[in-house]
Symmetry: C2
């Protein structure tokens, strides 16, 4: 049940883009350095995200990447699904194919996998990049809210 580096690195990269949302394109070199990910590997991950429409690229000098939607519109689930493929713990859970349930334990165990899948989905679909940005800079909020100080 491990997540691969694709998902881990990919989320970090997207988080980095969210942090710099609205400030012009961010180059891979910068993401690579800040998030400590090999640049050539990161290239492949971001290519997947681009093909899925989550980011878009600006080529040439001074180019880079930007989120295709605002951070509040992109969930962790969106990102992980693109990079990790289906998040279902077993393949049969994804597409309601109850055919293979011939043998005795099949359907009962399938129900377990289904519950695991649902709980994962609930979590990742409920967290947006904006949520992560907010978590990252709580000080800003503290300052703003400190009117009595």
């Amino acid at each position: 049940m491990k997540l691969s580096t694709k998902g881990r690195y990919g989320l970090k990269a997207m988080f980095d883009l969210a942090l710099h949302f609205g400030s012009g394109p961010v180059s891979l070199a910068h993401i690579s350095e800040r998030q400590d990910i090999s640049m050539s590997y990161l290239e492949q991950l971001i290519a997947t995200l681009r093909k899925a429409g989550l980011v878009y690229s600006i080529r040439g000098s001074q180019g880079g990447y930007e989120l295709n939607f605002s951070p509040s519109e992109i969930t962790v689930g969106d990102i992980l699904e693109v990079l990790e493929g289906q998040l279902a713990p077993v393949s049969c859970v994804k597409s309601n194919d109850t055919e293979h349930c011939s043998k005795s334990g099949e359907c009962v165990t399938r129900a377990v996998w289904q519950q695991i899948h649902d709980s994962i989905t609930d979590v990742v679909d409920s967290i947006t990049l904006q949520d992560m940005v907010n978590d990252y800079m709580p000080k800003t909020n503290v300052m703003i809210n400190r009117k009595e100080y």
Copy 2:
């Protein structure tokens, strides 16, 4: 985020043992046939479960395996943890080591993995083998409850 066959087969095997709990030892050959798992492969899985203390074996002719606890005392989480290793989506989540959080996105993404892990844990620790057995034979309950029939 895929579960390997170890976890899948292992849970099916344990479910099979739960179904026959209290009726004497169950041989690998029977589990293998009923759950449609290669017997020699199943041997390895059940060896792991035995070493973890979830089942015990009776050697020799007419031997087999039995659950070491009643089905209501064994959770899906117990089984998966033994067979799949840590269920944490990333390694750092398991043991509160917040050391590596030097780079900017590290701690924020870690919080996400932590939430995923917690939700998986909640699910698998809440389902016992007894629950699965109950799900498998709802007809029995229906019959018993049908007093008017």
